[in-house]
Every structure is written in structure tokens, then in C-alpha cells.
């Protein structure tokens, strides 16, 4: 104990202890004195104590009817500080015997003690209730840092609101587009949607009486506040029917402030959870994209096959993690990688991302399976077209250049299904274009494709590419173009193929001048050395 004056907290505790000790003694005194007084007046008696709701009966004795609550003192009563002593049958106080008067004063003295003790306890209870409210606000604040579970947070917010305001019911609404959707209700039904512009909702938020409001149908007294974040309504927190020992009633003005404080804390906590949810979703998508990217990298060939008398190289750089470009080279039916027929493929699936990657995988597996069974033909590509059409979603298509090379003779058979023309750089520096022989795959079920032929002589270079190369553009919009690609090939024809790929890449990067790559870029180069 400190030697000076007691601090507020100590004084409050001392008063509370005193009240707790005095109250049973005062009540026992009343229980003993009141029946004696009742006998002295020849009837019954009752002590009423004053509360915020009027006069409440604390104790009664003897015959007679004494209502639980009264508004005003009856004529047959003696007033004291904090209450009255009433009796029956009705008699003017001045006509009481001296014994009855003395007893009445004793009853009043005991009742004053009880009233004082109850008053101290009520004050103490209110101070402690305020303490619970402050703790709750603090706890919801803590939840900002600790609760990232959306469902749990919503329950916590609503439970706290209902219990702190002694409400019987409550509901939490959160923004869903233009309206507010019901997230949680407690103690009864609530409307599934609220319109912020609705006049009833506006009245609720402005503190006007809104009995039976759609937010809590059947509730007589409602209190609602917006959950605001940077001035924007992210939701509404509403409670209904404030409880007391006598039933339910309206909320007090200070309740609005408490609910607003809770709503402020809730706004930050909900935003925090939402940001965390978005981050998790982004992380999940990135994992999916990375996985799809890995799968696609596995589809593309690791290295070009050795081909006697030829140089062969393939190169691809997707614009995003997963691209829609595809290239491949593989042994065809009856061929051998070193001396048999080789298929050379470059394709471009419309779109990018996971859907494009799935279609690339479909193309890859179908093409490999078909090529194992039959050589390149119009019928084979038509079957491939129908397969792509069947397994791709609407508006998806593939442009494809596929060629089969007989390494021994240099004979080349090819189908160009709507793809950019392949460039054939002859040893003399001239450039031929191997243009389309049919529509892109996956557009029409009855599409027809032509198979055309060419021949690679010694020193000739075949260049297959995707439009990401020729449509690479400068900041002013000037594209590289097919003709310029041909000129570049001719100008650098002396380079080995890997260096030639680097030269084309450098030209494309230089042209873009720092602009982000807009499309996937693919190159497949084949040169006949002998």
C-alpha cells in the first residue's frame, strides 16, 4: 500500500469491496425490519429504489399488492434519498404511530445503505464494462496483425459488436460490386443484399429510427455504421435490440461511437486479409504458370539432331512465362535421325499463357503420334486439323509450318497451314518464300491443305520463324518485316547457325529499343553444307 492518498484504481477497488460487504448486511436488515414495519401498519410494506428506469421494487413484506415498477411515489409512502418506503392499506404518514414511524426511519436508513452499495456497484460495473470495450477494440486491432483467416475475422468482428453493445442480433455486410452482400448474421435472419443508396439503409446509417429495417427484419431498435476505408464504404456493421434486464430497448448515443471505433478497426483488418488473399492467389497463379512453363520447356527439343551434311538449330524465347510458339524436329515414319527423313516444325498458337500452352501440348502429342504412323500428306494434316478443332476452345487456332526433309537428296516436302512464309536463302543470295498451302489449323472442319515441294542445294539455308520475329517493332511502330529478315539472313550468311540466331536476336532487340517483348519469338534454321 502506498502511504499517500489512494490512487483512483485503489479507491475504486476499495469502494467496490465496501459495497460488496455492506450490501448483504443492508439486505438482511431490510428483510428483518420490513415485516415488523408491515405488522406495525397493519398491512404490507415495500421498499422501492430509484434507478434509471424509475422506481424498482427491492423488497416487500406482508399482504398487499406492490407493482414491480412505479413511476411516482404513492400518497402512503415515506421518501428517502434514493427511494421510498410504501405501505398498505393507504394511510397518511402523519397518522402512523410513533413506533411505526421509528421503524419506517430504520427501514429507510437500511434501504439507503443498500441503495448506496448498489449505486457504487453499478458505477463499478460500468467502468469495468468500458474496460472490456477498450480491450475488445484493442484485441480487434491485434487481429489485424494475427488473423489472416477471412471467415474467422468476420465472425470475430460480428461477435465483438453484438456482445460489446449488449445487442440481441447483428449482421455484417461487405461490398460485392455495387451492393453489400451479407457475410454473417447472428441471432436471426438478415437480408442477403443491401443497397447503399436505399433510403432505409441511408436512414439506418444516419442514426434515424428504422424498426424492422431490411438489414435485420423483426428487430425493433437498430444501430448501423459503415465500414469505411479511405472514405469508401467497404461494408456495414449493424446490431439490433439492445438488451437490459427488462427486455430490449434503443441503443444509447455513445453506442454509435463504440460501433464506429470497432468498424474502423474492422476496415483495416478486412483490408489486410484481402491483400493477403490476393497475394496468395497471385502466388498460386505464378506457381501454376511456372509449372506449365516447365512442361512446355520439356516439350521443346533439348538439342537438334545430328544430320550428316547439314547444320540445324532451333531457338525460342517466350514473351511471358508460357508462350504459344512451338518448334520441333524429329524422325518420321521409317526414318533415322542421322540419315532418314526428318520433320521440321514451327507453329504458333493464338493467345498466350496456360490455355495456349495446353493447345501446344495437344498439337505436339497429336503430331508426334501421326508422324510415327504415316509420312507427311494432305490427309495427315487434315486429320490433325480436325483433332485440333475438336480439342481446342472456340476462337483458338494454330498456324503451322511442317516440312519433311530427305537429307540425302535435299528434297523438301512441306505444308504451310496459314503460317508466315518460310524463307529459303539460296547460295547465290536470292530468297524464296514458301507461302501458305492452307488455312490455319482448328478453324474449319473441312479445310484442305496442299503439300508442296522444294529442294535444298549445297549452301542453301531454310529459315522457319514465328511472327514474333518479323513483327518485332521499333517504338515508332516500324516492324522488322519478312523482307528485312531475308536481307539479314543474306548479309550474315557466312555465320555459323548459332551466331546467325544471335545476330537475328540482336537485330530484334535493337529494333525494340528497350520495349518489352510483345510476342513469342521462334527460329528454326537449317543449312545444307554438302
Amino acid at each position: 500500500m502506498s502511504s499517500g492518498a489512494p490512487a483512483g484504481e485503489e479507491l475504486r477497488a476499495e469502494l467496490e469491496r465496501l459495497a460488496r460487504e455492506v450490501l448483504p448486511g443492508g439486505r438482511r436488515a431490510l428483510e428483518r425490519l420490513l415485516p415488523v414495519f408491515a405488522r406495525a401498519v397493519g398491512g404490507g410494506g415495500a421498499v422501492y429504489l430509484r434507478s434509471e428506469h424509475g422506481l424498482r421494487r427491492e423488497i416487500e413484506a406482508g399482504p398487499g399488492t406492490f407493482p414491480e415498477h412505479i413511476e411516482e411515489s404513492p400518497a402512503s409512502s415515506l421518501a428517502f434519498d434514493g427511494g421510498i418506503l410504501a405501505w398498505s392499506p393507504p394511510r397518511d404518514p402523519s397518522t402512523l404511530t410513533s413506533e411505526a414511524t421509528a421503524l419506517a426511519l430504520a427501514v429507510a436508513a437500511a434501504a439507503r445503505e443498500v441503495q448506496l452499495a448498489l449505486h457504487i456497484r453499478r458505477q463499478d460495473f460500468e467502468v469495468k464494462t468500458r474496460g472490456v470495450q477498450l480491450e475488445a477494440l484493442y484485441d480487434v486491432g491485434l487481429a489485424i496483425a494475427s488473423t489472416l483467416d477471412f471467415e474467422r475475422l468476420c465472425e470475430e468482428i460480428l461477435m465483438r459488436a453484438v456482445s460489446l453493445l449488449d445487442a440481441r442480433r447483428g449482421a455484417l455486410y461487405l461490398a460485392r460490386g455495387e451492393a453489400l452482400g451479407l457475410e454473417r448474421a447472428f441471432g436471426g435472419d438478415a437480408a442477403p443484399l443491401l443497397e447503399l443508396g436505399d433510403s432505409e439503409v441511408q436512414a439506418l446509417l444516419e442514426g434515424e429510427p428504422t424498426p424492422n429495417c431490411c438489414a435485420l427484419p423483426g428487430a425493433f431498435h437498430l444501430l448501423g455504421v459503415p465500414i469505411l476505408l479511405e472514405g469508401e464504404a467497404k461494408g456495414v456493421l449493424v446490431v439490433g435490440d439492445k438488451e437490459s434486464r427488462r427486455g430490449v430497448g434503443p441503443f444509447r448515443p455513445e453506442d454509435r461511437r463504440t460501433l464506429e471505433l470497432l468498424a474502423n478497426q474492422a476496415a483495416i483488418a478486412l483490408e489486410n486479409v484481402d491483400l493477403h488473399r490476393q497475394a496468395l492467389e497471385k502466388e498460386r497463379l505464378e506457381r501454376e504458370v511456372e509449372l506449365a512453363s516447365q512442361i512446355q520447356r520439356q516439350i521443346l527439343p533439348e538439342r537438334a539432331p545430328e544430320l550428316a551434311g547439314y547444320e540445324l538449330v532451333g531457338w525460342n524465347r517466350p514473351a511471358r512465362h508460357i508462350g504459344g510458339d512451338y518448334y520441333d524436329f524429329f524422325r518420321v515414319a521409317g526414318g533415322h535421325e542421322t540419315d532418314g527423313r526428318i520433320a521440321l516444325v514451327v507453329g504458333d498458337v493464338s493467345g498466350k499463357g496456360v490455355p495456349a500452352a495446353l493447345l501446344v501440348a495437344t498439337l505436339h502429342s497429336a503430331l508426334r503420334l501421326l508422324s510415327e504412323r504415316e509420312p507427311l500428306s494432305a490427309a495427315m494434316i487434315e486429320r490433325l486439323n480436325r483433332h485440333i478443332l475438336e480439342w481446342s476452345s472456340a476462337n483458338k487456332f494454330i498456324t503451322l509450318f511442317i516440312a519433311e526433309l530427305d537429307p540425302a537428296s535435299g528434297e523438301l516436302e512441306f505444308v504451310n497451314a496459314g503460317h508466315n512464309p518460310a524463307l529459303l536463302l539460296r547460295a547465290d543470295g536470292s530468297v524464296e518464300q514458301l507461302g501458305a498451302t492452307g488455312l490455319p489449323l482448328g478453324l474449319l472442319p473441312a479445310a484442305r491443305f496442299g503439300v508442296e515441294r522444294s529442294r535444298l542445294a549445297c549452301g542453301d539455308l531454310l529459315c522457319l520463324y514465328s511472327d514474333g520475329i518479323t513483327e518485332a517493332a521499333s517504338p515508332e511502330g516500324e516492324e522488322l518485316g519478312t523482307a528485312q529478315l531475308g536481307e539479314l539472313l543474306a548479309a550474315r550468311s557466312g555465320l555459323a547457325l548459332p551466331e546467325l540466331v544471335e545476330a537475328i536476336d540482336r537485330a530484334v532487340v535493337d529494333l525494340a529499343a528497350g520495349r518489352a517483348q510483345g510476342d513469342d519469338q521462334t527460329l528454326l534454321l537449317l543449312r545444307r553444307r554438302a
Binding site: P24, F125, K128, V132, E135, M159, A167, E243, G247
Partner: protein, 118 residues
């Protein structure tokens, strides 16, 4: 979650356990008081309130619990609580209930605590 309070009572060797499920508000508190005073009339002087199924309480419910505690003190009986949520336990400490009624983590500890301290 149950919102209207439901009560179950288990009488065992001088200790009566009242299990609550739902909101301890005015109605819920009155139900607990009725059950507690009924058990006192039956002669039980040691009561345990197991709040496993209660996640929410308001000040009216607390004031009724205080009345029950006072009644128990008056007849020199004992009331204890167990299985409180952290929020309710903190509230009981702030409101002073923990000064006059013991709080236990679980029912087994509570029952043996009540029996060992007659």
C-alpha cells in the same frame, strides 16, 4: 453456431456441472440462474459452469453470473468456471468475476479443484 442458449446438467457426487451452448445474454443468463438456483434447492453447493459451447457473452449475462456468484457466497457454496474462450476469460478477469469464482482450463481439473477445496 448455436445462438439461443441450451443447457445440460450433469449431477455427480456433490458437484453439479452446467454445460452451456450459445449466447449468454439476458435470456441465456436467466436460464443459467434458474438452473443454478434449482440445483441449490436440490442441495448442491458446488457448481461448475462448463462454457465449452459458448463463444459470446454480454454485460447483462455477466451481471446475472455475478448475482449467482453472490448467492453462492451468501450460502457459502462455490461456483467455478471452465473451458472459457480467451476472450471470455479476459472479460471475466476485467469484470471481477475471477476474484470470487475460480476459473479452470478444463472440466477434470475444475471438478477436482472444487472437491479439494470444500
Amino acid at each position: 453456431m448455436t445462438e439461443t442458449l441450451k443447457l445440460t446438467i450433469d449431477r455427480r457426487d456433490g458437484v453439479a456441472v452446467i454445460y452451456t451452448e450459445g449466447y449468454i445474454n439476458n435470456q441465456g443468463g436467466e436460464e443459467i440462474a434458474r438452473a443454478a438456483y434449482g440445483l441449490l434447492d436440490e442441495g448442491y453447493k458446488q457448481l461448475l459452469l462448463n462454457l465449452t459451447g459458448t463463444k459470446i457473452i454480454n454485460s447483462i449475462g455477466i451481471s446475472i453470473l455475478i448475482e449467482i456468484i453472490e448467492k453462492m457466497l451468501e450460502i457459502e457454496g462455490k461456483l467455478a468456471f471452465c473451458a472459457l474462450t480467451p476472450t471470455i476469460e479476459k472479460t471475466f478477469h476485467i469484470m471481477g468475476l475471477a476474484q470470487y469464482a475460480a476459473i479452470f482450463a478444463d472440466e477434470t481439473t475444475a471438478v477436482s479443484g472444487l472437491r479439494s477445496d470444500p
